[in-house]
Symmetry: C4
Subunit: 267 residues, 4 copies
C-alpha cells in the first residue's frame, strides 16, 4: 500500500490514471488557496464570506497535512533517500518539503499557545502555498537552472550593485542631509533613494534638491543604471542559452504549448 | 462582376489600376477616421464641429458596411474559402473580417434598441477601425510573426512575471497594509504598486513607507526588474532574427524605404 | 587667395599649420558660445554680465557670418560643387551649411523689422551653434551612420510604437475620462500618460485611478515596454556593429583616445 | 625584517600563514569601519554610542596609518618601484596608495588647525575606506578591466549623451521657462529634468505642462532613451566578453563560488 501511495503522490507521467487525477486535484487546491488568499485580502469580501473562507482553510490544511505526512512517510522509497529514518529526515529538509511544511504549519500554532500578534506575521507564510505548485510547473524549474548556470556572474554583479549603492548613498547622504534632514536622514535611509534611482523606478518621494545633490544624483544615475542593468542582461542571456539548449535536446519541443507539464524527477 | 469586385477589394499588386486606387481610398478613409476619433475626444473641437463629425461618421459607416458585405459575399472566390456558404462564414470569422465588422456594427445598435449607456462603452470599438489598416501595412504582420515564433519563450516569461508579481504583492501587502491601509488595501490593490515597480515606471502614487517595506521593496526591485525585462529581451532578439531572415530571403530589401507596402496574401 | 582661404577653412589634416589653428579657434568659439548660452539662461548671471554677453554675441556673429560667406564663396573649389553658381547654392543647402546659416541669421532679423515676439522664438536657434561642431567631431558622424544603417528597423519599430501609443491612449481615455476628466481630457492628452508609461519614465503627474484603468494600465505597461524598448535594442546592436566594422578597417584604432578628430571629408 | 613586513602586507597566496591572517584582519577592519560609518549616520545610534564610535575611530586610524607607512616604506621591495626614494614616492601616487592615505588623513587635520566647517566636508572621505577593500576583492578588478576595454565605446556614447542632454535641456528650457519659471529656471536647471527623463528615472518633481512642452518631451523621451541606454549595452557586452575570456583562460573557474579571492598582483 505504501508503494501505491508513493505512486499516487509522485508526479504522474500518463494522463488519466489515479496519480494524474491526484495531481490535478492538488494543483486545483493550490490555485483555489491562492485565490482565497487574494480575495480574503479584500476587506468587504473577507467580511461577507468569513465562514466560507474558514471552512475552506480547514479543509485545505487537513489535505496539505495529510499529503505532507504521506510524502515524508513514503520518501524512503525514493532511491536518493532510501535509508529508513535518515532518508525521510533528509527528504524533509529539501526545499520542496520545507515549503509543504510551511504551507500548513502556522495554522496549528494557536493550539500550542503562540502569541496572537506573532500569528499575524505567520499568516504571511500562507502565500508559500503558491510555491507548492513548483513541483508541477516546468517553467519554474527553468528559471532555477538559469540562476544556477549564471550564479558566478550574478554574484559578481551583485557585489558591484551593493558597492555602488553603498557609495552612492553615502555621498548623497553627506551632500543632501543638511538640506533635507527628514528625507536623507541616514545612509540606510538614503539607500531607499539609491535603489529607486539606480533601478530607474523613481517614485519621486525622495530626490536631491540642492544643486550639488542634483549634480551628484545625475552623475550617479548616468553611470549607475548601466551597472544596475547588468543582472538583467545576465538573466536574459542565460534565459536564451537555456531555451536554445533545451530546443536542441529535443525534450522541450515535445511540450510546446503545454507549459504546465508533468515532470518526472520531482517528488 | 463578382470577380471584378473581388479584384478591386483585394490588395493591389500594381500601382495605378482601379484596385490600387481603391486601396488608397480605404487607407485614407481609415486614417481620416482615426484622426476624427482623436479630434472628437478634444471637447471644444467636438462641440464646434459636431455636425461635420456626424456626417463623416455616417459616410464612413456606409462605406465600411458596403465594403464588409462585398468582402464576405466575394470571399468564396478565395481558394481557401471556396465552399459557397460555409466558406463565406469561415471568412467572416477570420480576425481581419471580425475587425471589419466591429468597426461599424456599434453604429447600428441604437436602431435595434440598445441601452444608451451600453452604447457609450461600445463607442470604444470605433478605435478598432485603426486595425483595418493591418491589411495594408507590412510592418504589422512583422510583429505578428515575431510573437508567433517566440510564443513559448514569452509564455514562460509571462508565467514568471505573474508568479513574481503575485508573490511580491502578497508580501508587500502583509508588510505595508497596517501602515497605509488605504494604499496597500488588498493584494490585488498592491499589484498596482507591483506593476509600477517591476516595470520601473514608478508613478509614485503608492510606495512603501515603513523601513521593512522599503527593504523588501528594494530587494523586489533589484531582483524583479531583471525578470520583468525578459519579455523585452525576447522580443528584441525575435525582432532582429526576423529582420535578418527576411533580408536573406531577399523579399525585404525590395521594399526598402517603402514600409507601407501592398501585401499579396491578405484579403 | 581663394584657394588659400579654402584650405584654411577646410578641416586640417596636419596639426600645427594655419588651417589647424583656425579649426582650434572655431571649435573654441563654438564651445564658448554654448557656454554663454547656458550661462545666460541663469537669470542672475545674465543680469550681472549683460554687456559682456552682448559684446561676445556681436563678436561671434561677425566671425560666424564671415566664415559662412567665405565657405559658400569657396564652395566651388570642392569637386562635388564645382559648377560656379549652382554649386555654391547646392552647397548652401547641405545640412552643415544650413546649420551655419541658422547659427547667426536670427541676430540680423531685428534690423529688417521682425516682430520682437517672434524674435524670442528665434533665439532658440542660437543653440544650433552647437551643431557646427559636428564638422570636427568624429563621434557625431558615428551615430549618423548607425541611424542610416538601421533606418528600416527603426522605421518599423517607430510604426509599432506610434500604433501602440495611439491604441493604448484611446482605450485609456475611454476608461479613465469619466473619473479624471481633467487629466485624461482627450486622446492626445492621454498620450502624455502613454509616453510616460511606455518609456517607463513615469513622472506620476497622471495615472489611472479606477480599478479597470489600473488593470488596463498594468497590461499596457507589461506588454508595451517590450515593444517600446525595440529602438533601444536596434540602436545598441547598430552601434556595436559599427564599432567592430571600424575596428576591422583599422581607421578607428589609429584615433584611440583622441575622440575629437579632424575629419577629411567634411567642409 | 623589512622583507618580513613586506611579505605580511602583501596579499597572501596560501591560507593559514601570518600574511593571510593579516589580510583577514584588515578586511574585517574595513568592513567594521564601513558598518560604523553607516550606523553613525543614524542619529539616535550616534548619540547613544558616541564614545564607542570615537574609540573605534582612533583605533582604526592608528592601524591604517601604521599600515600606510609600512606599505610606503617597503614599497621599494616591489620590482616596479625598486629605486629607493623615487620608487616609494611613485608607489605613494598609485590609486590604491592614495586611497589608503585619504582613508585616515582627514582625522589628523584638526591637529594642524583646519577650519571645523571644512572638516565636515572632509568627513566624506571616510567612506573611501571602503575602497581599500579593492585590494582583496577580485570582482572589483573585473569591472575595472571591462571599463578599460570598452573605454572608446564608452567615450563615444558619453559624448552623445552629453550632446543630447544639452540640446534637449536647451530646447525644453526655451519652451517651458515661461510657464514654469521656477522649475525650468535655466538650462543647467532643466538638465535635472533631462537626466530624470532620459535615464527614465522620472521622479516627477519637474515635468513639462504646456502642450508644446509635452509634445517635445515625448519626442525627446522616445528618441533619447535609446541613446542613453547605449552605455548600459556596452557595459553588458563588455562584462560577458570578460567573463567568457576568463573562463577560457581557466584562471576563473578555479575560484568559482569564492568571489572574495586573494589576488597576487596587488600590494
Amino acid at each position: 500500500m505504501k508503494e501505491k501511495i508513493y505512486y499516487i503522490l509522485s508526479v504522474s507521467k500518463k494522463p488519466g490514471d489515479t496519480s494524474w487525477y491526484f495531481d490535478i486535484f492538488i494543483i486545483t487546491l493550490i490555485i483555489l488557496n491562492v485565490l482565497a488568499i487574494v480575495l480574503e485580502s479584500i476587506e468587504h469580501v473577507r467580511l461577507q464570506y468569513q465562514t466560507q473562507f474558514d471552512i475552506f482553510e480547514i479543509f485545505s490544511v487537513v489535505i496539505f497535512t495529510v499529503e505532507y505526512i504521506l510524502r515524508v512517510w513514503t520518501a524512503d522509497l525514493i532511491p536518493t533517500y532510501k535509508k529508513p529514518l535518515t532518508g525521510n529526515l533528509k527528504f524533509a529538509l529539501t526545499p520542496l518539503a520545507l515549503i509543504d511544511l510551511l504551507a500548513f504549519l502556522p495554522f496549528y500554532l494557536p493550539f500550542i499557545g503562540i502569541d496572537l500578534r506573532l500569528l499575524r506575521v505567520l499568516r504571511i507564510f500562507r502565500i508559500f502555498r503558491l510555491f507548492k505548485i513548483a513541483r508541477y510547473v516546468e517553467a519554474l524549474s527553468f528559471i532555477n537552472s538559469v540562476f544556477k548556470k549564471k550564479k558566478e556572474e550574478l554574484a559578481i554583479s551583485l557585489i558591484f550593485t551593493a558597492f555602488l549603492l553603498l557609495i552612492s548613498s553615502a555621498f548623497m547622504y553627506y551632500v543632501e542631509n543638511e538640506a533635507q534632514p527628514e528625507n536623507f536622514s541616514s545612509i540606510p535611509g538614503t539607500m531607499w533613494w539609491g535603489i529607486a534611482t539606480l533601478t530607474t523606478v523613481g517614485y519621486g518621494d525622495i530626490y536631491p534638491v540642492t544643486p550639488l545633490g542634483q549634480f551628484l544624483g545625475g552623475i550617479i544615475a548616468i553611470i549607475g543604471i548601466g551597472l544596475f542593468a547588468l543582472p538583467t542582461g545576465i538573466l536574459a542571456s542565460g534565459f536564451s542559452d537555456e531555451i536554445s539548449k533545451r530546443k536542441q535536446q529535443g525534450d522541450y519541443c515535445a511540450t510546446c504549448g503545454q507549459t504546465i507539464k508533468v515532470k518526472t524527477d520531482e517528488y
